[in-house]
């Protein structure tokens, strides 16, 4: 199944793009996606404590992904 992955800040630099089309398996959780991403993009290991958002809401690692979800990897925020 196909998801869109938005990358920002350190994550964008680790992955080398701000938008990636990523293939994962039907029923994958955010945790499973995280494992796959860490395998493909070793540079992500350097990013501390990144979170995930799906369709612009923060989600926990148990969240089950669906086809065409808009997923964002959120490194530690530093606005203000």
């Amino acid at each position: 199944m196909h998801i869109q992955l938005f990358c920002f800040g350190q994550v964008k630099e680790a992955i080398g793009a701000n938008l990636v089309d990523f293939e994962c398996d039907e029923g994958d959780s955010v945790k499973a996606l995280k494992m796959k991403l860490l395998n493909v993009y070793g540079g992500l290991k350097e990013v501390p404590d990144f979170r995930f958002a799906v369709n612009q809401e923060y989600v926990g690692e148990d969240y089950e992904l669906s086809e065409n979800d808009e997923v964002a990897i959120i490194p530690p925020v530093s606005g203000g």
Binding site: F6, F8, P48, Y58, I74, V77, S78, G79
Partner: protein, 137 residues
Amino acid sequence: MSIQIVSSEIDVEACRKSAAADAAGAVVVFVGAVRDNTKGREVVRLEYEAYVPMAIKVLGQICERAESMFGLLKITVHHRIGILNVGDTAVAIAVSAPHRKAAFDGCQFIIDELKKDVPIWKKECFTDGEAWLTDRP
């Protein structure tokens, strides 16, 4: 409620005016500015980026909480992204309330929550290198 992520200069006075209300005895404005150093390293500029639709959504949720927790009358939050130089306004938060305590507390709540959860990032560019800020101030 006015929430904007902008790429040009923030007009702080316009933010204050937009938060004013006839029933408001207090308007508090917080201005976040670009400082010339971080822990002794000289800062040349900051580069901000945002996940804009989510940043606006999360800011809206924070402002709604602030409104009900502190009884705020009006709220304006403008955050700038792109390249900012020392002294530039990065964020302006203007809130109004019938009395000053609610306005001070509400304004502080919004900036504190913004720094925790709103998907905006800054890269600090020093005279001797650059780095994404990762420790929460």
